[in-house]
Subunit: 245 residues, 2 copies
Amino acid sequence: MPRYRLTIEYDGSGYNGFQTQAGQPTVQGAIEMALKAFCGESIRIAAAGRTDTGVHATGQVVSFDLEKAWPSRTVMNALNAYLIEEEVSVLDCAEVDPEWHARFSATGRKYLYRILNRPGRPALDLGRVWHMKKALDADAMHEAAQALVGLHDFTTFRDVNCQSKSPEKTLDVARVTRVGEEVHLVFEARSFLHRQVRSMTGSLVEVGLGRWSADDLKAALEAKDRAACGPVAPSDGLYLTGVTY
Amino acid sequence: MPRYRLTIEYDGSGYNGFQTQAGQPTVQGAIEMALKAFCGESIRIAAAGRTDTGVHATGQVVSFDLEKAWPSRTVMNALNAYLIEEEVSVLDCAEVDPEWHARFSATGRKYLYRILNRPGRPALDLGRVWHMKKALDADAMHEAAQALVGLHDFTTFRDVNCQSKSPEKTLDVARVTRVGEEVHLVFEARSFLHRQVRSMTGSLVEVGLGRWSADDLKAALEAKDRAACGPVAPSDGLYLTGVTY
């Protein structure tokens, strides 16, 4: 059976997260519905990252098998046609090795967190950014964020419902930059704990507001205690932007 | 009576244009409703550009008088509070000279047209970009666009319902650039004819697709004939980004 890889974009605002839940609109549900409409098969897809409710993606990757070997362009166009009422779009489709797996073959995930940092609330990007009225010191955030890079026990920045066996992860990149009226936080790692990016972002915002020092952030990490985490950033500003293999 | 200037952002998708129309949701209607809720007065606002249905703004400017002199910060915060259910946001508010007028004092308007130029349809920017699957030659578009700069009779690029007395306008800037997956067209002039930007954009896309040469575009301009215009670009990708005074 031929295996396919899709690169997917979605606006997570209208979905109860990526993963299928009975009776709830999900991104996985939308894609599997489109696959069923296309080829009549009930297919279960695998994804590189199971994003939470309200989280967006510009570079989610999924894989699945089809019974028949369709040209990848046909699969892409058909799925986009069946997804026309959804806020999900297929950006790319390719046939891949049957051993290849969107989740297990992944060697890195990249997330972007967008903060709109201005007095006026967003009209055009409502639901797609976290709006912060007070000025953030992006340089201070970037400097503090470097303490998170490397192999650490991220218990502080892990949701209490996280099902990962170990709280130890290696964060490869933590970069905070000002882009016009926005502050962008980019994080790269082989994998992340549940709500790790939003937890780190919320704590870094405390630094950006001058409420925490870089040392406070380091102490929070070293506490290995969920209670030491700052307020968790909302889902609105979070994007899965890419997966490496 | 003190006069105020507001800078406004809006997602035009849900509005029947800027200008008040009985029984229709409009941007002007939303702002005047918020002003009435704030101070109880029925105020008619003036705007730098009366954008069409579906057209967006990141830098629309409006002016109006209030009976009482409120601090400009109070006006901005109150209006944003009353606009919370709308896709309209006040970015800035200032008290201005009573002679100053958002429309008549304006010396320049700046528009951006965003084309998403990739095979996959937009999921995140649906309604906010014009989606073109075929690759556009942005350099060819930019080169051809220079024929539009200067003082011309823009009859070709003017809607048949345009109410401007003269079809002559001076286009100061026409710039086409590729920005990642998007092609951006920027136009600046003292003022524009009705649908001029969308008409010029649609014709420049013919150049970008290789269907028209730069000479064809020039010939269309010189024809001074609406029938010589290419397909008019949809409202989705158009933004009023700024006004100069």
